[in-house]
């Protein structure tokens, strides 16, 4: 039997199994913390910083920080939610996200978060960067305009030898995701499909299959992201 620990989130008393992350612990207590780079079953990386919470006076990411006994966590506060909203706004201005023209509209986690956090006009200046579209792969299409560089595909899609199919290129503001020309061209249908589903935005799209799910039936068409949690 695993150790049970106590913690509070915004003053609410909760219990959790020792060793799990703050994110898992809060989800088990039916509390929502927004996430974007995190994906169930893939090792968390804490790169989008949207799941930022505060504990012990310090900001930390809920997806990577283990919950500890007696922890007092600040989550759903005006201050923290504004920080999260500004990260969402940053993602909108650093890339080129034209939702009405995007095939993933309605299924896009970034768009859904922007709605949930009621983003109107970003407080930052749009950068309109020049980004590439990689149409060289037989099964998938990579539109870097929409890529939020969350590393989900990089972390999750490996071949049988553990080699990367996707990887970062360069660093800083110029960082971009590359598909391996060799492994990418031999991508199995299964991995191609996985890379499409794992992308939170419309940066990785299947070739020759447009609008697979009709508008109106998409994930966030009727309920905001995170609606599965009560609080």
């Amino acid at each position: 039997m695993a150790d049970i620990i106590n913690f509070t989130i915004d003053g609410k008393e909760c219990v959790a199994e020792k060793g799990i992350s703050i994110l898992q612990a809060t989800q088990e207590n039916d509390i929502y913390i927004p996430t974007l780079c995190n994906y169930e079953g893939v090792k968390p990386k804490g790169s989008c910083r949207i799941c930022t919470i505060r504990t012990n006076g310090q900001f930390a990411t809920a997806c990577t920080t283990p919950v500890a006994d007696g922890m007092e966590i600040e989550n759903n506060t005006e201050e923290i939610n504004d920080l999260r909203k500004s990260i969402i706004e940053l993602l909108f201005v650093e890339g080129n996200h034209f939702c009405p023209a995007c095939e993933m509209s309605g299924d896009c986690e970034l768009q859904a978060l922007a709605y949930r956090f009621q983003m109107m006009v970003p407080r930052f200046t749009f950068q309109f960067p020049k980004r590439d579209i990689d149409a060289g792969n037989p099964k998938i299409l990579m539109d870097c305009n929409r890529c939020i560089r969350c590393k989900r595909c990089i972390r999750a899609i490996k071949d049988e030898k553990g080699r990367s199919v996707f990887a970062f290129y360069r660093r800083g503001e110029n960082i971009k995701v590359h598909i391996d020309p060799e492994l990418g061209s031999k991508l199995t249908d299964e991995l191609a499909e996985k890379s499409v589903t794992i992308c939170p935005v419309g940066a990785i799209l299947p070739r020759e299959k447009g609008f697979r799910i009709p508008i109106g039936q998409r994930k966030f068409d009727h309920e905001p992201i995170g609606s599965e949690y009560k609080h």
Binding site: G46, V165, A167
Partner: protein, 600 residues
């Protein structure tokens, strides 16, 4: 020819993925670039994908997929280099080489590139040429150097001076770089016979006793973060792991810092002995010195020092006659990334990967290099450890202040009479330091490099200590002739844009936005709300993963706090562009003329 280099580099490092950095550096240094062919061969031999290899190459400043010229010149573009006359030197390079910075001349002989601080702030302008350092550059020297290149001269033979004549007994090092040790304290003094502690003291002490002594000294990490060293060792000692490692962080990339370069040159034996003591305490069998690429010119010299230590039973098996105490040290070169000075990024880099900081916990003392318990210590910390063992933790804690014990090696550069290295006790004020180095007419001082604070005369009574001004040791002094915003703050902000690893959203995307705002203000188009924006954006930086992300906006935030008037002066002309349109005011005149009352 080229493929031979690639194959031999791969063989030299046993086709080991963890040694990818070494393989890439070897190829880069021999061929001046890493070709597509080389990438393909490496990926096949090391069982990596092409993008696995390219992601590492593209992360590091000194690795390149394009030819960089037979002679690759990296001219430092840090603030101190600019202050000491970089511009005319850069122009001369461009004229003589026949290409611009960022380009290789058509004949492929010379490549000109910018690079961040190379640890020569007391002897700028300085450049790295094929890994060799050239200091005190002037247009005359530049012409001479380029002339030598045209004749195909060996870079090592292009030096013209014989400097210092210190104790390092290396003719080559003496001809290349000055040490400028202006003040020696107990750590830098030369009153110690290397190996004494290992031979005489260690055999009498248990690892726990050594850790106890270090805890008594109360020494904290000298890299800047200031974690108590004894505690770090204790955590690592008790952590479970088959193998443990001690890593020495010699990646001092904070602009204005060069103390480790001097220590590595003049006191390498002290450092290696400190690593052995640390290794003994935590139960490590391997130590790695992570040496920044900028100091590659020291590698051969340091390897000789290691070889000498092996010969004296100060490294190897049963060290100091202690049965079963086996420990050795190797050197790992970096390839140009400031972020690799962050301990978890440094570990990633030693493993042959991109230097992206790790999420913590787990901390390196639990799970570090190769997923084993690992201690990462600064060069200065490890040297101090030897003196603590020699004279006792009590003695060390009597130096400095009760909370900030011991000494700190400062790197002074910028507008002062005597730039160089000063080892001082903690507790000095900024006024003391300025008096010590002969600085007058001081407008501002950058404490702790770009990630620290820009402070002005009203705060010069602040003290160097962990409860007030904490610093890794970089001090850059600016007199009243310097334009702080345009030349200093902008330069530092560019530095962070270049050095962000790009992993966290607020770091990679915010710094360029900070810069745009600053440029808007500098161009005279700023309005009052721009200053409020800058201030309020600062908080978001605290959500980043690592220290670089937390501090990357400090140049702007600390100058805004301490030199607000400089920003406000620039807003003057901008008053009429004040945002927020006031309709009532705009129509008031016409309302008055037509005697109408606005109906809104």
């Amino acid at each position: 020819m080229e493929n031979n280099t690639v194959h031999s580099a791969i063989r030299k490092y046993n086709q080991d993925k963890m040694r990818l950095m070494d393989i890439l550096i070897e190829i880069q240094d021999n061929e001046n670039y890493i070709s597509d062919d080389a990438v393909r061969i490496i990926s096949e031999k090391l069982e990596l994908s092409l993008v696995d290899v390219e992601q590492t190459i593209s992360f590091y400043h000194f690795l390149s997929k394009e030819p960089q010229g037979k002679y690759t010149i990296y001219l430092n573009n840090s603030i101190v280099s600019n202050m000491m006359g970089r511009q005319i030197v850069a122009e001369t390079f461009e004229n003589e080489a026949g290409c611009k910075f960022g380009e290789v001349a058509e004949d492929g002989i010379i490549g000109l590139f910018d690079t961040a601080c190379i640890g020569m702030s007391d002897q700028e302008p300085a450049a790295l040429i094929n890994g060799n350092v050239f200091i005190h550059l002037t247009p005359f020297r530049v012409k001479e150097i380029v002339r030598d290149m045209r004749t195909g001269k060996d870079v090592k033979k292009m030096h013209t001076s014989y400097l210092d004549g210190g104790q390092n007994k290396s003719e080559y090092l003496n001809s290349a770089v000055r040490n400028n040790i202006m003040r020696m304290g107990p750590v830098l003094t030369d009153d110690y016979n290397p190996g004494t502690i290992i031979m005489n003291n260690l055999p009498q002490l248990t690892p726990e006793q050594v850790i106890e002594e270090i805890k008594t000294s109360n020494i904290r990490g000298r890299g800047g973060a200031g974690f108590p060293t004894g505690l770090k060792w204790e955590f690592c000692r008790i952590a479970k792991g088959d193998k443990k490692y001690i890593l020495c962080n010699a990646d001092e990339g904070e602009p204005g810092t060069y103390k480790d370069r001097v220590i590595l040159t003049e006191r390498p034996k002290l450092l290696f002995e400190g690593m052995v003591i640390a290794g003994y305490s935590i139960g490590a069998t391997e130590g790695i010195l992570y040496l920044r690429y900028e100091y590659k010119y020291l590698k051969h010299y340091l390897e000789n020092a290691l070889e000498e230590a092996r010969g004296k039973n100060l490294l190897g098996n049963d060290i100091g006659g202690i049965k079963g105490f086996n420990f050795d040290i190797r050197i790992q070169l970096g390839a140009g990334a400031y972020i690799c000075g962050e301990e978890s990024a440094l570990i990633e880099s030693i493993e042959g990967k991109r230097g992206e900081p790790r999420d913590r916990p787990p901390y390196p003392v639990e799970k570090g290099y190769n997923d084993c318990p690992t201690v990462v210590n600064n060069v200065e910390t490890l040297c101090s450890v030897v003196k603590i063992m020699l004279k006792g933790g009590e003695w060390y804690s009597s130096l400095g202040t009760p909370v900030s014990t011991g000494t700190k090696v400062l790197n002074i550069s910028g507008d002062c009479k005597y730039p160089g290295i000063y080892e001082v006790e903690w507790g000095l004020t900024i006024i003391d330091i300025l008096d010590m180095v002969g600085a007058t007419d001081v407008q501002a001082i950058q404490v702790g490099g770009p990630s620290g604070s820009l402070i002005g005369p009203e705060e010069f009574d602040r003290k160097l200590c962990y409860s007030d001004l904490v610093t890794g040791g970089s001090f850059i002094i600016f007199n009243f002739n310097r334009d702080l915003l345009k030349n200093v703050v902008l330069n530092f902000t560019d530095f962070f844009i270049e050095e962000s690893c790009g992993s966290c959203v607020p770091c990679r995307s915010m710094i360029p936005l900070f810069k745009q705002k600053l440029e808007k203000i500098l161009s005279g188009n700023g309005v009052a709300s721009d200053l409020e924006d800058l201030q309020s954006w600062g908080k978001l930086m605290k959500t980043n993963r690592c220290g670089l992300g937390h501090t990357a906006a400090n140049p702007i935030l600390t100058s805004l706090k301490n030199f607000r008037y400089l920003y406000e002066e620039k807003l003057e002309r901008g008053k009429e562009y004040e945002t927020g349109f006031n309709l009532e005011q705009a129509v008031s005149e016409s309302c008055e003329a037509t005697t109408r009352v606005p109906n809104f």
